[in-house]
Each structure stands twice: as structure tokens, then as C-alpha cells.
Assembly symmetry: C2
Homo-oligomer: 541 residues x 2
Amino acid sequence: MVALGGLGEIGRNMTVLEHDGRLLIVDCGVLFPEEHQPGVDVILPDFTSIRDRLHDIDALVLTHGHEDHIGGVPYLLRERPDIPVVGSRLTLAFVAAKLKEHRIRPVTHQVREGDRSTFGPFDCEFIAVNHSIPDGLAVAIRTGAGLILHTGDFKMDQFPLDRRITDLRAFARLGEEGVNLFLVDSTNADVPGFTTSEAELTPAIETVFRTAPRRVIVSSFASHVHRIQQVLDSAAVHGRKVAFVGRSMVRNMGIARDLGYLTVPPDLVVDMKALEKLPPSQVCLICTGSQGEPLAALSRMANRDHVIRITDGDTVLLASSLIPGNENAVYRVINELTRWGANVVHKGNAKVHVSGHASAGELSYLYNLVRPRNVMPVHGEWRHLNANAAIAVRTGVHPRGVVIAEDGVAVDLLDGKVHIAGKVPAGNVYVDGSTVGGATEAHLRDRRTLAQEGVVTVVAIVDADTGALAEKPDFLARGFVHDERTFDEVVPLIERALAKAAEEGVGGSVQLEQLIARAVGRWADNAYRRSPLIIPIVIDA
Amino acid sequence: MVALGGLGEIGRNMTVLEHDGRLLIVDCGVLFPEEHQPGVDVILPDFTSIRDRLHDIDALVLTHGHEDHIGGVPYLLRERPDIPVVGSRLTLAFVAAKLKEHRIRPVTHQVREGDRSTFGPFDCEFIAVNHSIPDGLAVAIRTGAGLILHTGDFKMDQFPLDRRITDLRAFARLGEEGVNLFLVDSTNADVPGFTTSEAELTPAIETVFRTAPRRVIVSSFASHVHRIQQVLDSAAVHGRKVAFVGRSMVRNMGIARDLGYLTVPPDLVVDMKALEKLPPSQVCLICTGSQGEPLAALSRMANRDHVIRITDGDTVLLASSLIPGNENAVYRVINELTRWGANVVHKGNAKVHVSGHASAGELSYLYNLVRPRNVMPVHGEWRHLNANAAIAVRTGVHPRGVVIAEDGVAVDLLDGKVHIAGKVPAGNVYVDGSTVGGATEAHLRDRRTLAQEGVVTVVAIVDADTGALAEKPDFLARGFVHDERTFDEVVPLIERALAKAAEEGVGGSVQLEQLIARAVGRWADNAYRRSPLIIPIVIDA
């Protein structure tokens, strides 16, 4: 078994199981780039280790419909479109919508909790789990080598809106049978206690709808069906009509409604045109952009770049988390909305968000219920994996049975014991515009330098024999602070370097370009304490 | 009165008061750049509006020694070195150390709580306030126009380590006298309740020292004398020796110790050489880098780029906040430290940090005590200023007496009433390498494009008469994903554009460069969905 993603990072979750020469894949997600990865759209798992074995794949099992679990599916199916895609009804609907944009029609196999299906040598049983999207599944995989249980993403809300709780009876039963390897969601393992129930948000959401003098504008994750359900229910009670704003929100809520995951009272949801005719106190908008994404509806409202203009007395409800790295973007949106006169209610000042992942308390219950032989924490950065491992050990799992692995580390299950069996490539595959995998760490390094320091292009027409400049070099700088005279002082330095090169018989344009780059680089550092990227161009006179 | 910084942002606090043609400045800080301001070192207030009036300045009053209050002083004193700098003992010591690096010897005027000093028409009284650095002062300024009271940064810890509490009796007395305009720190105005006392961190810090099996490595702000005091005390109790690591930590703790703000038990602090000879269980290091700054000690330890090598069993205590925007950097450090085997204790998993600012509860006490005529929230983004204003109104200040102003907005106090009286320049002044103010928004826009999209330089040698290319153009790309063949497809597009230009009689190299840039830009967008910065260079054949 090898995780191609999700270990040491929150995202691009993908686990490959192998038995009898056949493969089963659990999830295929994307990772969102951090600020040191500029220009990258998303990051995929590296498919190198399975690329030659695509026809050995018996199934791709998807635990739920979040991007970090399904976002990579189009890229995997590009390589082999007929891999059977297995998942619950809502998960498959979200995947199908995504694949449609990529013009791929998948071969799907719909399952639900309690089902047991065999894919090659993999006997899979699906177990209901509660998460921040409906219809999540854990999967128990029985092979000749033993029973592997993968939680997917989960928490243990005892009062979810859909009454579909994490099926602890099934976990207990599997524990009785004997779980040889337990793969457990680590995202909140370092959060003490228990994740609050979604139902406990009702009072704060109600308060917003009860007290808002004018429009209510709600932003949340476009896949958080239950959160949106709570908003719809409150809107209905307080006599407001609702419109969805933002492509993914409109699309996902349409799917959720059509499939019965979202219950919409008759005539509650209307289109923008109808909404605009109502008095503000009867209006509710539900939109994308809760993470401060610059192109999403909420950011555009904050920047007055949207048909919906925030005015004094509007209430904005950010019913969402604050994903690390997005803080400044979100606070910028909150500040701008505040400035236009909106009252912004968010998790910092009201109880309007709970996490979708099990905290340390819930994990301890789960370990004590399952009593697994071996544990491998998944879905987390090192601090999360480490905290999860500590909980497993504390509940009595033998420390040698707890494996903290990195992406690409192959873990074998043999005679009930786990062994590290090698390593396969598991680097970052960057989706960058329409290129996949073309962007390298070197590109990102260049981009970081360009961002911090700018670029200076130097065009020098040089007489190859004498090393003399035919004319004053041209300097074209961007992002590097300069005026018309700035580069005058570097010309003599270039001249000197070229003259010296000519004396020494150095004359190839590549060598001269290096010389020029070095002279300009040294000058920029000395004179301005900057290290711009320098692009030297030498042309024969 | 005009704030040149600190309104709508957390940082570069600077307020300019004018009376009878004379000026008094309160604080002169820097703002740290956000991720959309790449390459910028720090951001200064814009001195434009006072540049012609430097000799009207009677004093620069510094409320305390944090960078966002004193970081801009060297840049202001560069313009007039003999501006009298007024502050408490520790504040002046921190400023002097900073100015020494800039080779400026300031004219200082030391004050302490209870002092009353006159600078031109400004009669200043200084009041003790408690904050996350010792020796903080609020300042009451009496002029012919009335009494202005500025809190500086403060909180109301009732049990500070140095027993120097915020002097509420003085605030009450000034309230009795009648405060015409009250400038109040807004940083935590949107945090409900009361800021926890520094003293309540003792148990968690003690636990670290009691239970750590090997070395204890503490990282905190290099100015947080009381936090470091707690660490020293705990280290002493548990028989550990201490070394300071990191330039600013060594410097500041030296100053604090010399002046008696930091009490160091005899023989507790040793140098690194002595420390290395001790068993790990007797070692404590106190270092910089609690915000994940890449060049600070802790990040370098995390990256194995420091003489101190983290090993299994080390305990790292991050006794600090997580400033918004630094999350990913800090979590990266925590993950790497965890990976090397360290147990990382931080505010996410233990009570090891409290804020330095008054929360909403404390602010309500203060307003009720002072009962100001007019209020102007300072030190905060819009969401903070707004929350602070709401508290003032709730305590009974008339809404018309509460001014939420932006940087540069001139506020007049006349007959006990406040009026908006105009606006002065208050844009961002960027310190960028050794240039001050040279970097513009256009530079930052270019840098963001360079970061996201990279740069493509195109060198074309063109026959001006025929518009024909003398040879295949040269393409030099950085940060833009390409291979040797990528640019082949754009050559015919350039040829076509040049031919068309020749037909139409367009021939200047500037025009041809624009044509080429447009052709390449369109191609990159169509073929790769990217928009690199394009630098076209046309050379006459």
C-alpha cells in the first residue's frame, strides 16, 4: 500500500492498495498551493508509479465529494477513462459534474452504506461516516492479506441534520473481526476534545436572520449542503427569499436539491431578478467566496466589482472556516465589507462554523472501539499525523504497529504486521494554466525571485573581437525599482568586464552573457541590496 | 490632528497633532507587508504632509518600543535628526539601539508615568499602561483646543509580572477633568470578554519545563520581556541553564537586563559553548523566529540550517501569537520540527500565549471610566475600528462624537466637537532593499504578474523596410513553463504581425515591439492559459 498524497499535507489524498498484482485506489484529490508556489492552480499526486499499470486498476473508490478527494479524478481518467469509479450517490454526482467540464464520461459504480462489492481481489464494504458534506463513506477492504479499514474524512457528530451518523456499530463489528491496518483521518488530531455538533450553530444563524435589518448575504463552502440547509431553513422561518450566487454554489445546490440531499421549501429559492424586486428585509443571498478567493462573488462584492452592491445595514454571514493561509485574504474582504457598512458575522465573533473532522476525543473513542492491530495516520501534515499516532498509542496500539509514513512510502501488510517496503515517486505535480506537470521547482524558484526582486534584461551589442560595446546596452527592468539614470552606473562595469574577457580571449556569447549577468548582479546587490533575475542578451555587432 | 498610519491597518502607527502652527507626533512605526506586496521589506507612513514642516515639530512621543510604533523613527530622523524623541526608559533604549544601526544619535527626552512635560504648545502627561512590552505609556495632551488622550497600545492585566498596571486612577482623573478626544487602541476590540493575564501562562510553561525529557527550545517575540522572564524563572526552578540565540533576542534581552526590566538569576544565562557541554536535560535555548521568519533561528533549526540540530526528545515551546498571514510559515516550521522528533508546544495545543491588547470587555470599562466627549478608534483594520466604535457608542458616547477616520484624514477639534477637515497624502511608502519610496504600486503589480505568470523576453532582429525577421527570434523565458520547441509555434504569428505592419507602413521599433508583445501574449493565453509578462526587444537588422 502506498499513499501518493495526503501524508505531510492537507490535500491530494490518494492511496493505492496492491494485492495479487491488482490495484485499488482510494480517492484522488488535489492540493491547493501555498504562497511559495505562485502561479500554480492545483497540485496533483504523482501518477508515475501507476502509469504503466493503469490496466491493473480494478476500481477508484471515492470516500466523499470534496476537492481534496475527487479533484484529481479528471487527470487520472485522462490517462485511462474507463477506470471504474465507485462512490455514493452524491459523490458520484459531484464527480460527474466535474468530469463533464473535462468532457469525460466515467464508468461509475454507485454504492451506499452497508453495501459490499468486490473489485478484483478487493472485497469492499462501505460504512456511513458523517462529515462536512453528505453521503461520506469509510471503506473496509478485505484481501488475502487481511482487513484494511480506511475512515475517509469523518467526524462523529451525534446530531447531524440528516440523522446519518458515523456508523460506530459497523466500526465495532469490524473491530471484532480484526482490523489489520487502520487508516485514520488526522486533520483535527491535534485539537483537544470533541468537534461541536452542526446543530449547535442554529442559534447564531437564527440570530442573524432575526436581527438583520436589511439583506442577509451568506457565504459558505459550495459543498456544505447541511450548512446551506440551515441557512435556507432560517430564511424560510423569517420570511426571506433566497438566491444562489456563484457558479459552483448554483451547480452544487442544484445537484443536492435534485438528489434530495437539500430540502428546499416551495417558492423559497428565486432568481436574482425576482429577488431584486423584494424589500431588503426579505432578501437572502447565498454565495461563494468564503475563503476570500479573489474571483468569487463575495470578494467581488467587497471590491464593488459585482452587480450586488453592499450597502449600509446589510449583514454578511461567513458560515465557514478560515483555512490557514487564507487569513489575510478573508480579513481583507471582511474589512472592505465593513467599510461599505455591512455588519459581518464570522467565526471570530459568533458560533457560525464547526469543523468537519474528528478531534482528539472522537479519535480516542474510535481507536478503543476498533482496537486495530496496526495504524497509519492519514490526511494531515506532520503535526497532525504525529498527534494522531500519539492517540493510537495512548489507546493501547503497540508503538511498533503505528506507522507514520510519507507520501510515496510503500507499506506492506504481511502476517498481520506492517513493514516499510520501499519508496515510489510522490513529488508535486503542478497544474499550471493548461500544462500538467511541466512546472518544476526551478520554475517556482524563478517565480519567487521574480516576485521578490523583479527582472532586469540587458541587451548588449558586442564586437566579438575587441569586446567593445557597439552602443550603450539596453536595460529593460520590471519589478525592479529604477529610473532613467539608474543603469548608467553599471555600464562602465560591463565595459570593464567585457574588456577583460577580450584580453583573456574569452568571446563566446554564452560566456559574455554570464559575465554581464554577474557584473549586473553584483552591482544591484551592492548599490540596492537587491538580487533581481538578470536576463543577459549578447548580440554580435 | 491626522493619523498618517494605523487606521485601516495594524502597523505604522503615527499620529500628527497640530496646534498654533506647531506639531507633535505620537509614534512612528512600520507596517509589515502582506503577500500581495512581494519584495517589500517594510512599509512606512507617508511623510509628505510634514516634510516642509519638519522644523515645526516640537516632539516625537513614543508610547512603547514595538516596531509598529518605533520602526519608522530612523526614516523620520534622516529628514531631521534633532527632533526631540520622548519616551520611557526602555522605549528610548530600544530606539537608540535601532538608531545606532542607522548611525543616528537622537536627541532624547526621557519620561516616566506621572511626568508632565511641555513641548511647544503641547502640555503632555504620561500615564502607565500595561502591554506586551514593559514601560508602555499613554499620553494626555493638553492644548488650547482641549484635552486629547491617546492610550497607545494597552491592555488591563490586573496581575502583570512587574505589578505596573494600567493606571485607571489616572484615566478616571482625566475623565473628571474632561477628555475632549479619546484615541483608543482597537486591535482586540472585536474579541469578546477580557484578555487573560500573563500570569495565567505560568502553569503551561511550568509543565513544559517539568516534563521535557531533553532540551527546551523556546521561541517568542524578542521584545516580550515578561514572557522571557517567565521562561527564565521556570528554567531556573528546574535546573536548566539558558542561552539566547538570534541577534534581536540577544540585543533586546541585554538591554532589558542592563536596565533592570529583566531579572536574571546569577549564573543562569551562559554562552552557547558552555551550554553545549551540559546534558540536554539541563539546557534551555531562547531564540527568535516565532513567526516562522525564514532567516530567524527557529526556521533555520527546522531546516537543519543551524548549528543547533533538533533531535528526538527535544521540546520546542512557541510562546507567541500567530500573526495573520504567518500561519503557513509557522505551521511549516512546526511540521519540520515535529518531523525531526521534537515535541512542539504552541498556542494551538497549550495555554502559552495571551494577547497584548485590551479586549471588548476592558474597553467598555475604560470608556465608562473616562466618559470622553469624542472618540477616535486607532490601531486597527476597519473591522477593529468599527468594533471599537460600537463599544464607545454602547457605553454612551454620542454616535456623532465617534469618528472612524482613515489614514490621512484630518480631524479638527473645535469647541469640544470633532470635524473632518480635509485629507493629506497617506499612501504606502515602501522600503525596498536600500530604496525608500521608490517602489510603486506598478512595481508590485509587475512583481505579482512575474510571480504568477513568469516572464518571456523576445529578441527579434527585424529588417525595418521589409518587416522580415533577419533570423528566428530568441525567446528567453523564466518562470513560464516551456521546452525547446514551445516557442516554435509563435514564430509564424510574429512573422505575420510584422508583415502586416510592413504592409501598413508601421515600422518604429516601439510599435513593432508592441505588436510582438501582443502576438506572444495572445498566443500564451490561447495555448497555455497563461499571461506572462512579455519583454519584446526589436533590433534593426
